[in-house]
Protein backbone atom coordinates (compact mmCIF):
# COMPACT_ATOMS: atom_id res chain seq x y z
CA UNK A 1 0.00 0.00 0.00
CA UNK A 2 1.04 3.62 0.17
CA UNK A 3 4.15 4.70 2.04
CA UNK A 4 4.32 4.61 5.80
CA UNK A 5 4.78 8.32 6.46
CA UNK A 6 1.57 10.23 6.78
CA UNK A 7 -0.95 7.55 5.70
CA UNK A 8 -3.59 9.40 7.68
CA UNK A 9 -2.88 12.61 5.89
CA UNK A 10 -3.13 10.81 2.58
CA UNK A 11 -6.43 9.26 3.62
CA UNK A 12 -7.69 12.69 4.57
CA UNK A 13 -6.74 13.95 1.13
CA UNK A 14 -8.55 11.05 -0.46
CA UNK A 15 -11.61 11.72 1.64
CA UNK A 16 -11.57 15.36 0.58
CA UNK A 17 -11.20 14.40 -3.06
CA UNK A 18 -14.06 11.93 -2.74
CA UNK A 19 -16.33 14.58 -1.32
CA UNK A 20 -15.41 16.93 -4.11
CA UNK A 21 -16.09 14.35 -6.81
CA UNK A 22 -19.32 13.14 -5.27
CA UNK A 23 -20.84 16.54 -5.82
CA UNK A 24 -20.84 15.83 -9.55
CA UNK A 25 -24.19 14.70 -10.71
CA UNK A 26 -22.66 12.87 -13.68
CA UNK A 27 -20.64 10.62 -11.40
CA UNK A 28 -22.38 7.92 -9.46
CA UNK A 29 -20.92 6.62 -6.19
CA UNK A 30 -19.66 3.51 -7.97
CA UNK A 31 -17.85 5.69 -10.52
CA UNK A 32 -16.27 7.67 -7.73
CA UNK A 33 -15.06 4.46 -6.16
CA UNK A 34 -13.64 3.27 -9.45
CA UNK A 35 -11.87 6.57 -10.04
CA UNK A 36 -10.56 6.54 -6.49
CA UNK A 37 -9.08 3.11 -7.09
CA UNK A 38 -7.47 4.50 -10.21
CA UNK A 39 -6.05 7.41 -8.25
CA UNK A 40 -4.69 5.05 -5.60
CA UNK A 41 -3.02 2.95 -8.26
CA UNK A 42 -1.41 6.05 -9.64
CA UNK A 43 -0.26 7.21 -6.20
CA UNK A 44 1.17 3.78 -5.35
CA UNK A 45 3.21 3.78 -8.51
CA UNK A 46 4.55 7.28 -7.94
CA UNK A 47 5.45 6.43 -4.37
CA UNK A 48 7.25 3.33 -5.63
CA UNK A 49 9.50 5.52 -7.80
CA UNK A 50 10.39 7.68 -4.81
CA UNK A 51 7.81 10.47 -4.39
CA UNK A 52 6.44 11.37 -0.96
CA UNK A 53 2.77 10.38 -0.57
CA UNK A 54 1.47 13.94 -0.58
CA UNK A 55 3.49 14.80 -3.67
CA UNK A 56 2.35 11.60 -5.31
CA UNK A 57 -1.27 12.50 -4.54
CA UNK A 58 -0.91 15.93 -6.13
CA UNK A 59 0.73 14.52 -9.25
CA UNK A 60 -1.85 11.76 -9.56
CA UNK A 61 -4.77 14.19 -9.24
CA UNK A 62 -3.16 16.51 -11.76
CA UNK A 63 -2.72 13.62 -14.19
CA UNK A 64 -6.35 12.73 -13.92
CA UNK A 65 -7.07 16.11 -15.45
CA UNK A 66 -9.79 18.59 -14.70
CA UNK A 67 -12.93 17.20 -13.17
CA UNK A 68 -14.98 19.24 -15.62
CA UNK A 69 -13.53 17.38 -18.59
CA UNK A 70 -13.93 14.09 -16.83
CA UNK A 71 -17.57 14.77 -15.95
CA UNK A 72 -18.25 15.87 -19.49
CA UNK A 73 -16.99 12.56 -20.85
CA UNK A 74 -19.09 10.69 -18.33
CA UNK A 75 -22.09 12.80 -19.27
CA UNK A 76 -21.70 11.85 -22.93
CA UNK A 77 -22.03 8.20 -22.04
CA UNK A 78 -24.59 8.63 -19.25
CA UNK A 79 -26.75 11.49 -20.48
CA UNK A 80 -29.71 10.17 -18.52
CA UNK A 81 -27.97 11.24 -15.33
CA UNK A 82 -28.39 14.87 -16.26
CA UNK A 83 -32.13 14.40 -16.05
CA UNK A 84 -32.61 14.28 -12.37
CA UNK A 85 -34.47 11.14 -11.59
CA UNK A 86 -37.16 11.65 -9.06
CA UNK A 87 -38.13 8.40 -7.48
CA UNK A 88 -38.79 4.79 -8.35
CA UNK A 89 -35.54 4.42 -10.30
CA UNK A 90 -34.24 3.00 -7.04
CA UNK A 91 -30.65 2.03 -7.85
CA UNK A 92 -27.36 3.74 -7.08
CA UNK A 93 -28.45 5.92 -4.17
CA UNK A 94 -26.66 5.43 -0.90
CA UNK A 95 -27.96 2.41 0.98
CA UNK A 96 -29.13 4.36 4.04
CA UNK A 97 -31.06 6.86 1.93
CA UNK A 98 -32.36 3.93 -0.09
CA UNK A 99 -33.85 2.00 2.81
CA UNK A 100 -35.31 5.23 4.09
CA UNK A 101 -36.93 6.08 0.79
CA UNK A 102 -38.20 2.51 0.41
CA UNK A 103 -39.82 2.67 3.83
CA UNK A 104 -41.30 6.03 2.82
CA UNK A 105 -42.70 4.39 -0.26
CA UNK A 106 -44.31 1.61 1.75
CA UNK A 107 -45.87 4.00 4.25
CA UNK A 108 -47.05 6.20 1.40
CA UNK A 109 -48.69 3.26 -0.37
CA UNK A 110 -50.34 2.31 2.92
CA UNK A 111 -51.65 5.83 3.51
CA UNK A 112 -52.83 6.24 -0.09
CA UNK A 113 -54.66 2.92 0.06
CA UNK A 114 -56.15 3.95 3.41
CA UNK A 115 -57.39 7.22 1.93
CA UNK A 116 -58.79 5.47 -1.15
CA UNK A 117 -60.65 2.89 0.91
CA UNK A 118 -61.88 5.40 3.51
CA UNK A 119 -63.86 7.14 0.81
CA UNK A 120 -65.77 3.90 0.24
CA UNK A 121 -66.33 3.00 3.89
CA UNK A 122 -69.61 4.97 4.26
CA UNK A 123 -71.07 2.78 1.51
CA UNK A 124 -70.99 -0.11 3.94
CA UNK A 125 -73.55 1.89 5.92
CA UNK A 126 -75.79 2.54 2.96
CA UNK A 127 -74.44 5.93 1.97
CA UNK A 128 -73.71 6.61 -1.67
CA UNK A 129 -71.66 9.26 -3.38
CA UNK A 130 -74.37 10.29 -5.79
CA UNK A 131 -77.30 10.26 -3.36
CA UNK A 132 -75.86 11.58 -0.10
CA UNK A 133 -74.12 14.76 -1.20
CA UNK A 134 -75.02 16.47 2.09
CA UNK A 135 -73.05 13.80 3.91
CA UNK A 136 -70.12 13.44 1.52
CA UNK A 137 -69.62 17.16 0.83
CA UNK A 138 -68.59 18.23 4.32
CA UNK A 139 -66.94 14.91 5.17
CA UNK A 140 -64.73 14.31 2.16
CA UNK A 141 -61.74 16.06 3.74
CA UNK A 142 -62.14 13.90 6.81
CA UNK A 143 -61.74 10.71 4.80
CA UNK A 144 -58.60 11.77 3.01
CA UNK A 145 -56.63 14.40 4.88
CA UNK A 146 -56.04 12.42 8.10
CA UNK A 147 -54.07 9.93 5.98
CA UNK A 148 -52.01 12.71 4.51
CA UNK A 149 -51.39 14.15 7.98
CA UNK A 150 -50.46 10.68 9.19
CA UNK A 151 -47.93 10.28 6.38
CA UNK A 152 -46.36 13.66 7.14
CA UNK A 153 -46.39 13.09 10.89
CA UNK A 154 -44.65 9.76 10.32
CA UNK A 155 -42.01 11.41 8.15
CA UNK A 156 -41.41 14.15 10.71
CA UNK A 157 -41.45 11.66 13.60
CA UNK A 158 -44.06 13.79 15.32
CA UNK A 159 -44.17 13.75 19.10
CA UNK A 160 -47.11 12.18 20.93
CA UNK A 161 -48.36 15.62 21.91
CA UNK A 162 -48.54 16.73 18.30
CA UNK A 163 -50.26 13.50 17.28
CA UNK A 164 -52.77 14.06 20.07
CA UNK A 165 -53.49 17.58 18.83
CA UNK A 166 -53.88 16.32 15.26
CA UNK A 167 -56.32 13.62 16.30
CA UNK A 168 -58.26 16.13 18.40
CA UNK A 169 -58.51 18.59 15.52
CA UNK A 170 -59.71 15.95 13.08
CA UNK A 171 -62.25 14.82 15.67
CA UNK A 172 -63.38 18.42 16.01
CA UNK A 173 -63.74 18.58 12.24
CA UNK A 174 -65.84 15.41 12.29
CA UNK A 175 -68.10 16.92 14.94
CA UNK A 176 -68.48 20.17 13.01
CA UNK A 177 -69.31 18.32 9.80
CA UNK A 178 -71.97 16.08 11.28
CA UNK A 179 -73.41 17.48 14.47
CA UNK A 180 -75.39 20.31 12.87
CA UNK A 181 -78.40 19.12 10.92
CA UNK A 182 -77.87 21.02 7.67
CA UNK A 183 -80.26 20.61 4.77
CA UNK A 184 -78.77 19.49 1.49
CA UNK A 185 -79.80 22.71 -0.23
CA UNK A 186 -78.76 25.08 2.57
CA UNK A 187 -76.01 27.62 2.10
CA UNK A 188 -74.34 26.42 5.27
CA UNK A 189 -73.69 22.92 4.00
CA UNK A 190 -71.74 24.27 1.04
CA UNK A 191 -69.84 26.71 3.24
CA UNK A 192 -68.98 23.98 5.70
CA UNK A 193 -67.79 21.71 2.91
CA UNK A 194 -65.47 24.35 1.49
CA UNK A 195 -64.17 25.72 4.77
CA UNK A 196 -63.71 22.40 6.50
CA UNK A 197 -61.33 21.31 3.75
CA UNK A 198 -59.37 24.54 4.19
CA UNK A 199 -59.37 24.17 7.97
CA UNK A 200 -58.22 20.57 7.70
CA UNK A 201 -55.53 21.54 5.22
CA UNK A 202 -54.10 23.76 7.95
CA UNK A 203 -54.22 20.76 10.28
CA UNK A 204 -52.14 18.96 7.64
CA UNK A 205 -49.90 22.03 7.78
CA UNK A 206 -49.54 21.48 11.51
CA UNK A 207 -48.34 17.96 10.79
CA UNK A 208 -45.99 19.38 8.19
CA UNK A 209 -44.34 21.92 10.49
CA UNK A 210 -44.52 19.79 13.61
CA UNK A 211 -40.74 19.48 13.93
CA UNK A 212 -40.50 23.21 14.50
CA UNK A 213 -43.86 24.84 15.16
CA UNK A 214 -42.83 28.45 15.52
CA UNK A 215 -40.28 28.61 12.75
CA UNK A 216 -41.13 31.03 9.98
CA UNK A 217 -38.94 29.01 7.61
CA UNK A 218 -40.96 25.87 8.21
CA UNK A 219 -44.19 27.70 7.57
CA UNK A 220 -42.77 29.01 4.33
CA UNK A 221 -41.87 25.41 3.50
CA UNK A 222 -45.50 24.50 4.05
CA UNK A 223 -46.54 27.21 1.59
CA UNK A 224 -44.08 25.82 -0.94
CA UNK A 225 -45.35 22.33 -0.20
CA UNK A 226 -48.93 23.42 -0.84
CA UNK A 227 -48.05 24.94 -4.21
CA UNK A 228 -46.04 21.97 -5.39
CA UNK A 229 -48.64 19.56 -4.06
CA UNK A 230 -51.27 21.31 -6.11
CA UNK A 231 -49.17 21.18 -9.27
CA UNK A 232 -48.48 17.48 -8.81
CA UNK A 233 -52.06 16.74 -8.00
CA UNK A 234 -53.19 18.41 -11.22
CA UNK A 235 -50.58 16.44 -13.19
CA UNK A 236 -51.77 13.17 -11.65
CA UNK A 237 -55.35 14.17 -12.40
CA UNK A 238 -54.45 14.75 -16.06
CA UNK A 239 -52.91 11.29 -16.20
CA UNK A 240 -56.07 9.95 -14.59
CA UNK A 241 -58.22 11.56 -17.27
CA UNK A 242 -56.22 9.80 -19.98
CA UNK A 243 -56.56 6.50 -18.12
CA UNK A 244 -60.31 6.90 -17.75
CA UNK A 245 -60.70 7.85 -21.40
CA UNK A 246 -58.89 4.71 -22.54
CA UNK A 247 -60.70 2.53 -20.07
CA UNK A 248 -64.02 3.88 -21.22
CA UNK A 249 -63.22 3.51 -24.89
CA UNK A 250 -61.65 0.05 -24.81
CA UNK A 251 -64.30 -1.53 -22.57
CA UNK A 252 -67.11 0.00 -24.57
CA UNK A 253 -65.57 -1.51 -27.69
CA UNK A 254 -66.17 -4.99 -26.31
CA UNK A 255 -69.63 -4.10 -25.06
CA UNK A 256 -68.82 -3.81 -21.36
CA UNK A 257 -70.02 -0.66 -19.62
CA UNK A 258 -67.27 0.47 -17.22
CA UNK A 259 -69.16 3.55 -16.12
CA UNK A 260 -70.31 2.30 -12.74
CA UNK A 261 -66.82 1.23 -11.84
CA UNK A 262 -65.28 4.49 -13.04
CA UNK A 263 -67.79 6.67 -11.19
CA UNK A 264 -68.08 4.55 -8.11
CA UNK A 265 -64.49 3.41 -7.60
CA UNK A 266 -61.84 4.73 -9.94
CA UNK A 267 -62.56 8.46 -9.67
CA UNK A 268 -63.22 8.80 -5.91
CA UNK A 269 -60.59 6.31 -4.79
CA UNK A 270 -58.07 7.54 -7.33
CA UNK A 271 -58.51 11.16 -6.30
CA UNK A 272 -58.22 10.27 -2.61
CA UNK A 273 -55.08 8.22 -3.20
CA UNK A 274 -53.59 10.93 -5.41
CA UNK A 275 -53.78 13.39 -2.50
CA UNK A 276 -51.26 11.28 -0.58
CA UNK A 277 -49.20 10.32 -3.63
CA UNK A 278 -48.78 13.96 -4.67
CA UNK A 279 -47.58 14.82 -1.17
CA UNK A 280 -45.11 11.97 -1.28
CA UNK A 281 -43.80 13.17 -4.66
CA UNK A 282 -43.29 16.66 -3.29
CA UNK A 283 -41.44 15.29 -0.27
CA UNK A 284 -39.30 12.97 -2.37
CA UNK A 285 -38.32 15.51 -4.98
CA UNK A 286 -37.62 18.33 -2.56
CA UNK A 287 -34.38 19.88 -3.73
CA UNK A 288 -34.09 17.50 -6.66
CA UNK A 289 -36.21 19.34 -9.18
CA UNK A 290 -36.81 23.03 -9.59
CA UNK A 291 -40.04 24.07 -7.89
CA UNK A 292 -42.64 24.69 -10.54
CA UNK A 293 -45.06 26.97 -8.64
CA UNK A 294 -42.59 29.91 -8.51
CA UNK A 295 -41.89 29.46 -12.22
CA UNK A 296 -45.60 29.77 -12.98
CA UNK A 297 -45.69 32.80 -10.70
CA UNK A 298 -42.94 34.47 -12.70
CA UNK A 299 -44.85 33.83 -15.89
CA UNK A 300 -48.19 35.08 -14.67
CA UNK A 301 -47.33 38.04 -12.43
CA UNK A 302 -46.73 40.39 -15.39
CA UNK A 303 -49.80 39.08 -17.20
CA UNK A 304 -52.10 39.51 -14.23
CA UNK A 305 -50.68 42.95 -13.54
CA UNK A 306 -51.41 43.94 -17.13
CA UNK A 307 -54.97 42.62 -16.95
CA UNK A 308 -55.73 44.35 -13.64
CA UNK A 309 -54.29 47.68 -14.80
CA UNK A 310 -56.25 47.38 -18.02
CA UNK A 311 -59.40 46.68 -16.01
CA UNK A 312 -58.83 49.77 -13.86
CA UNK A 313 -58.24 51.89 -16.93
CA UNK A 314 -61.37 50.52 -18.61
CA UNK A 315 -63.35 51.12 -15.42
CA UNK A 316 -62.30 54.75 -15.29
CA UNK A 317 -62.84 55.34 -19.00
CA UNK A 318 -66.20 53.62 -19.30
CA UNK A 319 -67.41 55.12 -16.02
CA UNK A 320 -70.18 52.53 -15.71
CA UNK A 321 -69.67 51.18 -12.20
CA UNK A 322 -69.33 47.53 -11.31
CA UNK A 323 -72.38 45.40 -11.88
CA UNK A 324 -72.72 43.62 -8.57
CA UNK A 325 -74.35 40.30 -9.12
CA UNK A 326 -74.59 37.40 -6.77
CA UNK A 327 -71.27 35.93 -7.81
CA UNK A 328 -69.34 39.20 -7.89
CA UNK A 329 -68.00 39.09 -4.37
CA UNK A 330 -66.85 35.51 -4.78
CA UNK A 331 -65.20 36.35 -8.09
CA UNK A 332 -63.30 39.23 -6.55
CA UNK A 333 -62.41 37.13 -3.53
CA UNK A 334 -60.90 34.60 -5.88
CA UNK A 335 -59.02 37.39 -7.61
CA UNK A 336 -57.50 38.40 -4.29
CA UNK A 337 -56.61 34.77 -3.61
CA UNK A 338 -54.84 34.54 -6.96
CA UNK A 339 -52.96 37.78 -6.32
CA UNK A 340 -52.02 36.56 -2.87
CA UNK A 341 -50.87 33.28 -4.39
CA UNK A 342 -48.72 35.09 -6.94
CA UNK A 343 -47.23 37.11 -4.11
CA UNK A 344 -46.69 34.13 -1.84
CA UNK A 345 -45.01 31.94 -4.42
CA UNK A 346 -42.66 34.58 -5.62
CA UNK A 347 -41.75 35.26 -2.00
CA UNK A 348 -41.20 31.54 -1.50
CA UNK A 349 -38.63 31.41 -4.28
CA UNK A 350 -36.95 34.75 -3.72
CA UNK A 351 -33.48 35.13 -2.33
CA UNK A 352 -34.22 37.25 0.77
CA UNK A 353 -30.95 39.17 0.57
CA UNK A 354 -31.16 40.16 -3.10
CA UNK A 355 -31.73 43.89 -3.67
CA UNK A 356 -35.11 45.07 -4.98
CA UNK A 357 -35.48 44.70 -8.72
CA UNK A 358 -37.93 45.27 -11.54
CA UNK A 359 -39.96 42.22 -10.57
CA UNK A 360 -40.58 43.60 -7.07
CA UNK A 361 -41.92 46.82 -8.59
CA UNK A 362 -44.13 44.77 -10.84
CA UNK A 363 -45.42 42.91 -7.85
CA UNK A 364 -46.15 46.10 -6.01
CA UNK A 365 -48.14 47.27 -9.03
CA UNK A 366 -50.04 43.99 -9.04
CA UNK A 367 -50.93 44.17 -5.35
CA UNK A 368 -51.88 47.83 -5.45
CA UNK A 369 -54.12 47.43 -8.50
CA UNK A 370 -55.80 44.41 -6.93
CA UNK A 371 -56.40 46.46 -3.79
CA UNK A 372 -57.83 49.34 -5.76
CA UNK A 373 -60.24 47.04 -7.58
CA UNK A 374 -61.26 45.37 -4.36
CA UNK A 375 -62.00 48.65 -2.62
CA UNK A 376 -64.27 49.59 -5.52
CA UNK A 377 -66.10 46.29 -5.16
CA UNK A 378 -66.38 46.58 -1.38
CA UNK A 379 -67.88 50.04 -1.59
CA UNK A 380 -70.54 48.74 -3.98
CA UNK A 381 -71.31 45.68 -1.97
CA UNK A 382 -71.51 46.93 1.62
CA UNK A 383 -74.49 49.02 0.60
CA UNK A 384 -76.18 45.90 -0.72
CA UNK A 385 -75.63 43.93 2.41
CA UNK A 386 -76.98 46.57 4.73
CA UNK A 387 -79.93 46.84 2.40
CA UNK A 388 -80.89 43.15 2.17
CA UNK A 389 -79.51 41.76 5.42
CA UNK A 390 -76.86 39.08 5.73
CA UNK A 391 -76.84 35.47 4.68
CA UNK A 392 -74.11 32.95 5.53
CA UNK A 393 -72.70 33.28 2.02
CA UNK A 394 -72.48 37.05 2.15
CA UNK A 395 -71.06 37.10 5.65
CA UNK A 396 -68.34 34.59 4.85
CA UNK A 397 -67.47 36.20 1.53
CA UNK A 398 -67.25 39.58 3.17
CA UNK A 399 -65.16 38.24 6.04
CA UNK A 400 -62.74 36.60 3.65
CA UNK A 401 -62.53 39.75 1.61
CA UNK A 402 -61.59 41.74 4.70
CA UNK A 403 -58.98 39.18 5.72
CA UNK A 404 -57.36 39.14 2.29
CA UNK A 405 -57.60 42.90 2.00
CA UNK A 406 -55.83 43.37 5.33
CA UNK A 407 -53.09 40.99 4.30
CA UNK A 408 -52.56 42.58 0.90
CA UNK A 409 -52.73 46.13 2.20
CA UNK A 410 -50.02 45.50 4.74
CA UNK A 411 -48.06 43.48 2.14
CA UNK A 412 -48.21 46.43 -0.22
CA UNK A 413 -46.93 48.69 2.52
CA UNK A 414 -44.04 46.32 3.31
CA UNK A 415 -43.31 45.85 -0.38
CA UNK A 416 -43.22 49.60 -0.87
CA UNK A 417 -40.77 49.88 2.02
CA UNK A 418 -38.65 47.18 0.44
CA UNK A 419 -38.66 48.73 -3.02
CA UNK A 420 -37.61 52.04 -1.46
CA UNK A 421 -34.90 50.16 0.43
CA UNK A 422 -36.31 51.11 3.82
CA UNK A 423 -37.13 47.57 4.92
CA UNK A 424 -35.59 44.14 4.52
CA UNK A 425 -37.43 41.64 2.35
CA UNK A 426 -37.60 39.27 5.31
CA UNK A 427 -40.27 41.54 6.87
CA UNK A 428 -42.67 40.66 4.06
CA UNK A 429 -41.88 36.97 4.35
CA UNK A 430 -42.36 37.10 8.10
CA UNK A 431 -45.70 38.90 7.70
CA UNK A 432 -47.03 36.24 5.36
CA UNK A 433 -45.98 33.31 7.51
CA UNK A 434 -47.30 34.97 10.67
CA UNK A 435 -50.61 35.56 8.92
CA UNK A 436 -51.23 31.90 8.11
CA UNK A 437 -53.01 31.11 11.41
CA UNK A 438 -55.54 33.85 10.63
CA UNK A 439 -56.83 31.88 7.63
CA UNK A 440 -57.01 28.73 9.73
CA UNK A 441 -58.91 30.44 12.53
CA UNK A 442 -61.36 31.99 10.05
CA UNK A 443 -61.99 28.66 8.35
CA UNK A 444 -62.70 27.01 11.71
CA UNK A 445 -64.99 29.89 12.67
CA UNK A 446 -67.06 29.45 9.53
CA UNK A 447 -67.30 25.72 10.13
CA UNK A 448 -68.08 25.83 13.84
CA UNK A 449 -69.87 29.10 14.50
CA UNK A 450 -71.63 30.08 11.28
CA UNK A 451 -74.30 27.33 11.15
CA UNK A 452 -75.80 28.09 14.59
CA UNK A 453 -75.25 31.81 14.07
CA UNK A 454 -77.36 31.78 10.92
CA UNK A 455 -79.94 29.25 12.14
CA UNK A 456 -78.62 26.45 9.90
CA UNK A 457 -79.77 28.20 6.77
Amino acid sequence: MTAADGPNELEAQFAQWRQYVQRRRELRPSDTEELEDHLRGSVDELVAVGLRPDEAFLVAVKRMGSLDDLSREFALEHSERLWKQLVLSGDTVGSVAQTRSRRDLLIMVGCAAGAALSVKVPELFGMSLSKNAAFYGPNVGLFVLPWLAAFLAWRRRASLAVIGVLVALFALGAVAANVYALAENSQSVVLTAIHLVIALWFVVGLAYVCDDLRSSRRRMDFIRFTGEWFVYFVLIALGGVVLVAFMYGTFNAIGVEPETFIRGWLLPCGAAGAVVVAAWLVEAKQGVVENIAPVLTRLFTPLFTAVLLAFLAAFVVSNKGIDIERQALILFNLLLVVVLGLLLYSISAREPLAPPGLFDNLQLALVVSALAIDVLVLVEITGRISEFGTTPNRASALGENVILLANLAWSAWLLLGFVRRRRPFAALERWQTDYLPVYAVWAWLVVLVFPPLFNYR
Binding site: E34, D37, H38, G41, S42, M64, D69, E73, F74, E77
Partner: protein
Protein backbone atom coordinates in the same frame (compact mmCIF):
# COMPACT_ATOMS: atom_id res chain seq x y z
CA UNK B 1 4.52 12.26 -31.43
CA UNK B 2 0.87 12.65 -30.42
CA UNK B 3 -1.74 10.40 -31.91
CA UNK B 4 -4.73 12.42 -33.12
CA UNK B 5 -7.75 12.39 -30.82
CA UNK B 6 -10.14 10.90 -33.36
CA UNK B 7 -7.78 8.06 -34.08
CA UNK B 8 -7.31 7.38 -30.37
CA UNK B 9 -11.06 7.30 -29.89
CA UNK B 10 -11.64 5.02 -32.88
CA UNK B 11 -8.99 2.54 -31.86
CA UNK B 12 -9.86 2.50 -28.17
CA UNK B 13 -12.64 -0.08 -28.39
CA UNK B 14 -10.62 -2.86 -30.07
CA UNK B 15 -7.70 -2.12 -27.77
CA UNK B 16 -9.76 -2.43 -24.61
CA UNK B 17 -11.52 -5.54 -25.88
CA UNK B 18 -8.18 -7.00 -26.92
CA UNK B 19 -6.64 -6.42 -23.50
CA UNK B 20 -9.67 -7.89 -21.76
CA UNK B 21 -9.47 -10.90 -24.07
CA UNK B 22 -6.07 -11.59 -22.49
CA UNK B 23 -7.71 -11.78 -19.07
CA UNK B 24 -9.93 -9.89 -16.61
CA UNK B 25 -8.61 -6.50 -15.68
CA UNK B 26 -9.47 -3.18 -14.05
CA UNK B 27 -9.26 0.40 -15.22
CA UNK B 28 -5.87 1.42 -13.96
CA UNK B 29 -4.21 -1.78 -15.18
CA UNK B 30 -5.76 -1.36 -18.64
CA UNK B 31 -4.39 2.15 -18.85
CA UNK B 32 -0.92 0.97 -17.76
CA UNK B 33 -1.01 -1.81 -20.31
CA UNK B 34 -1.92 0.57 -23.16
CA UNK B 35 0.84 2.90 -22.09
CA UNK B 36 3.31 0.05 -21.98
CA UNK B 37 2.32 -1.44 -25.35
CA UNK B 38 2.45 1.89 -27.14
CA UNK B 39 5.76 2.82 -25.55
CA UNK B 40 4.07 5.79 -23.89
CA UNK B 41 2.82 7.21 -27.19
CA UNK B 42 -0.86 6.58 -26.49
CA UNK B 43 -1.85 8.76 -23.58
CA UNK B 44 -5.36 7.85 -22.57
CA UNK B 45 -7.28 9.93 -20.10
CA UNK B 46 -9.60 8.58 -17.45
CA UNK B 47 -12.32 10.52 -19.18
CA UNK B 48 -11.81 8.31 -22.23
CA UNK B 49 -11.35 4.96 -20.54
CA UNK B 50 -14.10 4.78 -17.93
CA UNK B 51 -16.99 6.05 -20.02
CA UNK B 52 -15.80 3.65 -22.75
CA UNK B 53 -15.79 0.73 -20.33
CA UNK B 54 -19.27 1.70 -19.18
CA UNK B 55 -20.50 1.89 -22.75
CA UNK B 56 -19.06 -1.52 -23.58
CA UNK B 57 -20.79 -2.85 -20.51
CA UNK B 58 -24.09 -1.29 -21.55
CA UNK B 59 -23.73 -2.84 -25.00
CA UNK B 60 -23.05 -6.22 -23.39
CA UNK B 61 -19.48 -6.60 -24.69
CA UNK B 62 -18.04 -6.72 -21.18
CA UNK B 63 -19.29 -7.50 -17.69
CA UNK B 64 -18.03 -6.03 -14.45
CA UNK B 65 -18.04 -6.84 -10.78
CA UNK B 66 -16.37 -5.58 -7.64
CA UNK B 67 -13.93 -8.11 -6.29
CA UNK B 68 -10.97 -8.15 -3.95
CA UNK B 69 -8.02 -10.23 -5.16
CA UNK B 70 -5.97 -11.54 -2.19
CA UNK B 71 -3.87 -8.78 -0.63
CA UNK B 72 -5.22 -6.02 -2.84
CA UNK B 73 -7.90 -3.35 -2.76
CA UNK B 74 -11.45 -4.08 -3.80
CA UNK B 75 -11.63 -3.18 -7.46
CA UNK B 76 -14.09 -3.14 -10.28
CA UNK B 77 -12.93 -5.89 -12.62
CA UNK B 78 -14.07 -6.11 -16.21
CA UNK B 79 -14.50 -9.39 -18.09
CA UNK B 80 -15.11 -9.79 -21.83
CA UNK B 81 -18.28 -11.63 -22.83
CA UNK B 82 -18.85 -13.99 -25.77
CA UNK B 83 -20.57 -11.15 -27.54
CA UNK B 84 -17.52 -8.99 -26.81
CA UNK B 85 -15.26 -11.64 -28.35
CA UNK B 86 -17.39 -11.60 -31.50
CA UNK B 87 -17.19 -7.81 -31.58
CA UNK B 88 -13.41 -8.01 -31.15
CA UNK B 89 -13.14 -10.43 -34.08
CA UNK B 90 -15.27 -8.10 -36.21
CA UNK B 91 -13.19 -5.06 -35.25
CA UNK B 92 -10.04 -7.00 -36.02
CA UNK B 93 -11.28 -7.78 -39.53
CA UNK B 94 -12.10 -4.13 -40.13
CA UNK B 95 -8.82 -2.86 -38.75
CA UNK B 96 -6.88 -5.41 -40.78
CA UNK B 97 -8.56 -4.09 -43.91
CA UNK B 98 -7.72 -0.51 -43.00
CA UNK B 99 -4.13 -1.24 -42.04
CA UNK B 100 -3.53 -3.41 -45.10
CA UNK B 101 -4.91 -0.76 -47.40
CA UNK B 102 -2.73 1.91 -45.83
CA UNK B 103 0.30 -0.28 -46.25
CA UNK B 104 -0.52 -0.90 -49.91
CA UNK B 105 -0.73 2.83 -50.44
CA UNK B 106 2.32 3.84 -48.49
CA UNK B 107 4.72 1.05 -49.25
CA UNK B 108 3.60 0.10 -52.76
CA UNK B 109 2.46 -3.34 -53.92
CA UNK B 110 5.99 -4.72 -54.23
CA UNK B 111 6.92 -4.21 -50.59
CA UNK B 112 3.65 -5.35 -49.11
CA UNK B 113 4.39 -9.05 -49.22
CA UNK B 114 6.56 -9.42 -46.10
CA UNK B 115 4.46 -6.95 -44.09
CA UNK B 116 1.21 -8.90 -44.32
CA UNK B 117 3.00 -11.64 -42.44
CA UNK B 118 2.92 -9.55 -39.28
CA UNK B 119 0.77 -11.46 -36.76
CA UNK B 120 -2.59 -9.91 -36.09
CA UNK B 121 -1.83 -9.47 -32.40
CA UNK B 122 0.78 -6.90 -33.31
CA UNK B 123 -1.79 -4.74 -34.99
CA UNK B 124 -4.00 -4.35 -32.02
Amino acid sequence: MRVAKDLVAASATPMVLGILAEGDSYGYAILRRINELSGGELDWTEGLLYPLLHRLERLGHVESDWQAVAGERRRKYYRITTQGLDELAEQRRQWTTVVDTLKEIWLGPGDSQPLTAIPLGGLA
